[in-house]
């Protein structure tokens, strides 16, 4: 058994290393690499295009009104895929809270936090506490910036939500534990559900043509529908159609989901630490 598995590992490694030679070089993917020089000023121009990515690159800006092509692929062309990913995150958060509440089990929820003379939590050094207080607004503002400017600069719902959840992680490791777990959990859970609901409702709003149809883009300057010029531009915040809405919804969902995971884990750690010798229960 051991020898057979070792042999199988060598076979797999040999096939993979041999398969490297069959791959195309990076920098030489299929398709036309210079897709913009023959671009006409129409909304959709498919001349001389052979691959899907070249279609996205050439038409993504005009069709969705977003400067960031990655965001337009994530939330517009492949928005249904993103809905599935958001549902997976929701499901994972649900199962984690179901599993961890069996450890927490209602005790230790109203625990009072030990504080030192200045009101900072005891346990960590003062450097961590003051650093948390100083850094938290900056991290939250940066995450919100990433969410809101997702269609103009690198960023979007997933990255911005993760950066904002880093702030929660900072709170958790510096022992600013949450006073009332039940209330916090309900708040985060409500906003997480709200994010997913807004995503689905926005998807159904364009149902006249298709699910997740970008019905707000290029509407001559009405709500989020500014027509942007072709090519390089400084970026306009009120462009993009439904992309900023979906981005904000996903950002809220990711932030609240990861925060639920972190808060529940830290609370389970505290509940475990309070009962000594719990190795065999």
């Amino acid at each position: 058994m051991k020898l057979v598995s070792l042999l199988a590992m060598f076979i797999i490694a040999g096939f993979m290393f041999t398969g490297i030679g069959k791959l195309h070089l990076p920098g030489d993917p299929a398709g036309n690499s210079n897709v913009f020089s023959q671009r006409s000023s129409e909304k959709t121009d498919t001349a001389n295009i052979s691959t899907m990515d070249d279609y996205y690159l050439r038409n993504g800006q005009m069709e969705t009104g977003s400067n960031n092509i990655v965001t337009s692929v994530v939330f517009d062309y492949r928005g249904f895929d993103t809905l599935g990913e958001a549902a997976v995150l929701f499901l994972v958060v649900t199962s984690i809270s179901m599993l961890l509440f069996s450890i927490i089990k209602g005790k230790d929820l109203e625990e009072t936090v030990l504080t030192d003379s200045d009101g900072f939590p005891a346990g960590m050094t003062r450097i961590v506490s003051i650093g948390t207080v100083l850094m938290l607004p900056i991290i939250m503002a940066f995450g919100a910036y990433l969410v809101i400017h997702g269609h103009l600069s690198p960023g979007g719902g997933f990255q911005g939500g993760a950066v904002m959840a880093t702030g929660t992680a900072l709170l958790v490791i510096s022992s600013f534990v949450v006073r009332n777990l039940q209330k916090t959990y309900k708040l985060f859970s409500f906003f997480e559900s709200l994010g997913l609901t807004v995503f689905i409702v926005t998807g159904f709003a364009g149902m006249g043509i298709s699910f997740l149809h970008n019905f707000l883009a290029n509407n001559d300057g009405s709500f989020l529908g500014k027509v942007i010029p072709l090519g390089t531009n400084p970026g306009f915040l009120n462009s993009g159609g439904i992309l900023p809405i979906l981005s904000t919804a996903v950002g809220i969902e990711v932030f609240c989901g990861i925060s639920i995971i972190l808060v529940l884990l830290s609370r389970a750690l505290n509940a475990r630490g309070s009962q000594k010798g719990g190795h065999k229960c």
Partner: protein, 119 residues
């Protein structure tokens, strides 16, 4: 030259992680190994999307339209969501490991082998 380094790194990480899933016994070490496998797949997709002498697929502050070359956007979009989902599944695996430790007092796979299920 560039391709050799990146692809060899991807394959080496994948082989390393599969080998450690086979031969390591600690559950948390297994989670780390699966994370490394996921990172290698992410790196593989980003490598496939790369074009030299080009910019990121963002038009804000990009060069002028005539000499503009961009990397492929859709592998980046796929990997972007995969990273967040990878974090969520990592958290789920860790919680399952913690509950296994709470019930059995060990993280060793071979000691968990004799645990009979009580239906």
């Amino acid at each position: 030259m560039l391709s050799i380094f990146l692809y060899v790194t991807v394959v080496s990480l994948l082989i390393l992680s599969i080998t450690s899933v086979i031969y390591k016994r600690n559950l948390i070490k297994l989670v780390i190994a699966l994370n490394i496998a996921e990172s290698s797949v992410n790196l593989f997709f980003i490598t496939l999307a790369y074009r030299p002498d080009s910019t990121a697929p963002i038009f804000t502050l990009a060069p002028a339209l005539q000499e503009l070359r961009m990397v492929l956007p859709s592998p980046q979009a796929l990997i972007l969501t995969n990273i967040v989902i990878g974090f969520a599944t990592t958290a789920l695996m860790l919680v399952l490991a913690v509950i296994t430790y709470k019930n059995n007092g060990t993280l060793d796979i071979r000691k968990l082998k004799g645990v009979e299920d009580h239906d």
